[in-house]
């Protein structure tokens, strides 16, 4: 008997059981992913293993990988996202509070967003010696503008009715921000986190390809140099699983913080 069945037997509703579950993976998603996995395995029967290795080969390789590389990559992503969010939020508040700051700042942000990731990586290699700083720089310069634009647009989108209502009670500047602007912007902040999480995981691996001697990106370089296709797929699988789990965690956080929407 599964936990869900046991809960159902105790008379708990499906909603209550789902709300208690740490993560929620919809049946459709699980079925879709299983179909891809099965198709992959079928293809592996007809093509050489150095093109499409079968699951047994990928999973066997998986256990031989250096898992500390996974933790290092995750730490880099977490630190860079925290810095990016603080920077993006701070600048968004400054631009919201001051029209001239926004008028001068917007084009600069647009310029930053127009530069391809690969160019930022090259700049980082040319400008900075310390590898961790290079990776952090690339992640922050790519993610912070996304946070900034998302949060600023959400702040500006707060309804005039609500702003006037709050102003009629004469809040201080800080109260206006903490009682209205910040909570009203929270859904956009969480969406921005989801977008940036996926962006950061993709960017960090590319950044780690250049110069790093640790992390998943470095692991991928080594696998490519050794022509170990199974290892490349194993690292990819880890990245995908991390992304799915991180998104599931964020979705749970979102459901908890935005329960007033349901």
């Amino acid at each position: 008997m599964t936990a869900r069945d046991a809960g159902a037997a105790r008379g708990e509703t499906v909603e209550a059981l789902e709300a208690r579950a740490p993560f929620r993976f919809p049946r459709e998603m699980v079925v879709g992913l299983l179909l891809v996995a099965v198709a992959w395995q079928v293809v592996s029967f007809f093509v050489p293993p150095f093109v499409v290795p079968g699951w047994e080969r990928i999973l066997t390789t998986l256990v031989t990988l250096r898992l500390d590389f996974v933790l290092i990559t995750l730490a880099r992503v977490a630190a860079a996202l925290a810095v990016s969010f603080a920077l993006g939020l701070g600048l968004a508040v400054a631009m919201y509070a001051s029209a001239p700051v926004e008028r001068y700042g917007r084009p600069i942000v647009r310029l930053f967003m127009a530069v391809p990731v690969v160019c930022w990586i090259l700049f980082a290699v040319l400008w900075f010696k310390w590898v961790e700083f290079r990776i952090g720089f690339v992640l922050v310069v790519v993610c912070a503008p996304v946070f900034l634009v998302d949060v600023l647009d959400a702040m500006k989108g707060v309804s005039r009715d609500l702003r006037d209502m709050l102003r009629s009670f004469r809040p201080t500047g800080a109260q206006f921000f903490t009682k209205l602007i910040l909570p009203a912007t929270l859904p956009a902040i969480l969406t921005s986190w989801k977008i940036n999480l996926s962006l950061a995981i993709r960017v960090v691996t590319i950044a780690e390809l250049v110069g790093a001697v640790t992390g998943i990106g470095y692991g991928l370089v080594v696998a490519q140099e050794l022509f170990s296709v199974a290892e490349v797929f194993a690292w990819t699988l880890i990245l995908v699983v991390i992304l799915f789990l991180a998104e599931a965690v964020l979705t749970r956080v979102e459901e908890r913080l935005l329960r007033w929407r349901t």
């Binding site: 009715d161 209502m165 201080t172 929270l186």
Partner: protein, 260 residues
């Protein structure tokens, strides 16, 4: 708490400039009147006669293009913070914060005033109870009906015990039964506190029912009539209603002496 003094409106004009074309639109042409402290006033007029614009200027959210609005000698736009805890408004839409429960919405003005958290909860709870929402204090706005949400908005306005109460078409979008009940509650609460209360409405019955003073606005924003309603027999109230309706239709001041 500072009490709100008399409201003086002197030669007030408000002009908006349309975005894009820059064309000037006169929302209020000329307003001149005084509302003594503690009076109940209904402002009636057709859509577009500048009722809400006037109220926004009275709240201090906007300033007149010309003339002066003062409460107790101070202009609400320029002395914005002076009116902290002095005035409260109920709007056409409830304007509740959707992420706050009913009690947390009612607590909001007390939080802004920096009151003790325990006091905030006690007072918010007392007002919700008084308005029949005691059982719904933990409900989010989307879980409440339109009438219940508007009652929460009323509680939010009354919780700071303001000396100046403003209601901008606050009951117009509700069904007649709910609107009448809330209107009666609003009038009772305003009277019991001895507050100055201004009710902006386009419904003549609502204005006359208040039993105070009715200011009839014409288009664009000017005073057509200033009527002391008092408690009138039903047939007189019906006559008054017809007279005001005629004024609004012709957008002209009254011709009958009885309204003067």
């Amino acid at each position: 708490m500072t009490a709100a003094g008399a409201i003086e409106v002197q030669g007030v004009r408000k002009v908006f400039h349309q975005t894009g074309s820059g064309e000037a639109v006169v929302a209020i042409d000329h307003l001149d009147f005084v509302i003594p402290r503690g009076q109940m006033v209904a402002i009636v007029g057709q859509t577009g006669c500048g009722k809400s614009t006037f109220l926004n200027m009275l709240i201090g959210l906007d300033r007149p293009s010309a003339g002066r609005i003062a409460i107790g000698g101070r202009t609400p736009y320029d002395h914005f913070d002076h009116f902290r805890g002095v005035l409260a408004a109920v709007f056409q839409q409830d304007r509740l914060l959707p992420w706050r429960t009913a009690i947390d919405n009612v607590r909001l003005p007390l939080e802004l005033l920096g009151r003790d958290p325990r006091e905030q909860v006690e007072r918010a709870r007392a007002w919700l109870d008084r308005l029949g929402l005691g059982r719904f204090e933990r409900a989010y706005p989307h879980e409440l009906s339109g009438g219940m949400r508007q009652r929460v908005a009323l509680a939010r306005a009354f919780v700071i015990e303001p000396s100046l109460l403003l209601a901008d078409e606050a009951f117009g979008h509700l069904d007649e039964v709910t609107a009448a009940a809330l209107r009666a509650t609003f009038i009772d609460l305003a009277r019991s506190g001895g507050n100055t209360a201004i009710l902006v409405t386009h419904q003549l019955e609502e204005a006359i029912e208040m039993g105070g003073r009715v200011l009839v606005f014409g288009r664009p924003g000017r005073l057509l009539a200033d009527i002391a309603v008092g408690q009138r027999p039903a047939e007189q109230a019906a006559g008054l209603r017809a007279d005001i309706q005629q004024m609004l239709q012709h957008n002209a001041p009254p011709t009958k002496e009885s309204l003067a």
